[in-house]
Assembly symmetry: C2
Homo-oligomer: 364 residues x 2
Amino acid sequence: MTRRATVYDVADRAGVSIATVSRVLRLPDAVRPATRERVLAAVSELGYVPSGSARGLAERRTGVLGLYFPGFDAAEEAPELDVLAEDAATVGFTVDREADAEHASGMLFLDEVLRGAELEAWKRGFVLMIGVGRDDPTRETVRDIAGRVDGLMVLAQSVPDDVLARLAQRIPVVVLSGPPRGDRYDHVTVSNAEAMAEVTRLVLAEADRGRIAFLAGPEDSPDGAERWDGFAAAVSAAGMSIDEVVVVRGDFTRESGRRAVAELLEGGPLSALIAANDQMALGAIEAFRAQGVRVPEDVLVSGFDGIEEAATARPALTTVRQPMTDLGRAAVQLLARRLQDPGAEPMSVRLPLRILVRESTSRA
Amino acid sequence: MTRRATVYDVADRAGVSIATVSRVLRLPDAVRPATRERVLAAVSELGYVPSGSARGLAERRTGVLGLYFPGFDAAEEAPELDVLAEDAATVGFTVDREADAEHASGMLFLDEVLRGAELEAWKRGFVLMIGVGRDDPTRETVRDIAGRVDGLMVLAQSVPDDVLARLAQRIPVVVLSGPPRGDRYDHVTVSNAEAMAEVTRLVLAEADRGRIAFLAGPEDSPDGAERWDGFAAAVSAAGMSIDEVVVVRGDFTRESGRRAVAELLEGGPLSALIAANDQMALGAIEAFRAQGVRVPEDVLVSGFDGIEEAATARPALTTVRQPMTDLGRAAVQLLARRLQDPGAEPMSVRLPLRILVRESTSRA
DNA sequence: TTGAAAGCGCTAACAT
DNA sequence: ATGTTAGCGCTTTCAA
């Protein structure tokens, strides 16, 4: 690798000025064909690739959009790997008769958002830079990224409010998912409440007249709260009093779903259980089965999130799926809009959720 | 958003020179605490975020690594989405009683590679820029990226040889997966052949003395070729002649697996079928079942790739899993090495595969 | 159609 | 410990 070629090298070689080189690359039609050919030949011969930094500096835009996630791993938990080590593995394989080669769990959400964002960014001529929030107080990855991009998309909760406010002073910020964070940012969300209301409506329509239970999320979860609101609204709409339903609070884990069912069954049989997320719903189904209660024959169960396991579980779980790819795409669209028109009013986009009706709520 | 603050603004406000501002940010200990505080206060008040472009230009390094994938989508196939349109959807949900909300298929591979790369990059103080290869002749996304990063990781086959060679002239390149592309690049691969040989050995040890079949991939697949080599080696090692086995060529699709079985069964019963990938193996199992041939009682079947469905299928499929996260991590490690020592010899790292022995090859 | 030259916002010598 | 200044490699007026 010899010294990197620059515009000057190309200009020399083609016998033109650097301005002409720049023009050939940016406004080819503004240059006489013969000259253009000479320049392109030089570019090619020298393997010239323009410096993004220099361009970014001169143009005052980078052509890069940033996507910032909450940490999807505890960096510390990652096993050691050092392929440069003296004793680096030399075996070609290992044999495993037990393990199920855990597929990365739960993170599909982020992957799909990423994919949607990348597609939309590409369509608009941007490239994507990604960052993951890991709490290392000595480093602020998000600022690292903010300094290198024209606009930033952050997943709800991944950046503290004050930091976000600072960054928004410098570049456009779009918040993805979660509740609105003030009305100063562009924002993409989903209709948690409406979708939960609809699920509840569907379940109530199918259920016996009997005890209905809601398995809520933790108190501090904004998503959980919205889902509760939706449930409550549907209950009222069905002409029932909210006092007629039983509410148990869980923490979004499967185990808390199991515990909730144990508790609920002490109060007698149930005709439907509506959970604030899939994990709790799946835990509940396990517990019902353990107690000899059949789903959906004896009790209907619904979840929320649309995790993959909801589809493969027996019975398959009725749930609500996040439009993950569209979340990513919508975020980029909002960012692109603001980049074009920095003064526009902050805008909030609400994407429809997809309700998947499956066996667990079908009194066949 | 007022004009973006720069070092000059910060320096003015703190009553120091721009050099001092720069120092506070990069070598805080080289500045007197009192001065440092003043500067940091100014930084904070102004919401100053250093320009990555200016830094990159001055430092002659960007602190960014690039990861370039082959297109995981046909951009054209993506449904329309325009959240800014006048008639943008206003409904909160849709109800779906049939569909299984397809989880993005097959691309888990890339997601996990990405995750591994991001983790390792973060550990080393880099951020990650991603690009996806889509064939748009008018744009060269990969060059876009190459101009903005200190080093580039490309997935095998995602970049034409000549383009790659050009880029490698400018920045370090690491090739991921696939066969070596010349010996001029650092390279991370897996031991396709060895792992397939081991799978074959395991299956042969378990199988009846009967007809053994290999379900090969398309001729032009380098992976397919390596897997074939491994199979052939194991067959020889078992003291059999390669002529004793039946070989059918498929194209890595499930349908081709089904067809292959139909064809194979015409030649009489089989005792084992070793497929070059999971999709074909799963297709084969379906076809066997349709013919009343039981797996694994009558015939053993193995796959390759370790897709998720291999674990949930009935019977669970014996397969070989790619160390995807480690591929990403290893690539970054190689890149970091080369960045430190540009003159080092190109290095090729071979990662062990993980053989997962499951029901489909277990004569219980 | 082309060239000269002035920045873009930073870092890193070198001076003080 | 801090300030001055010369680039880093490009884009973009403004002139020619």
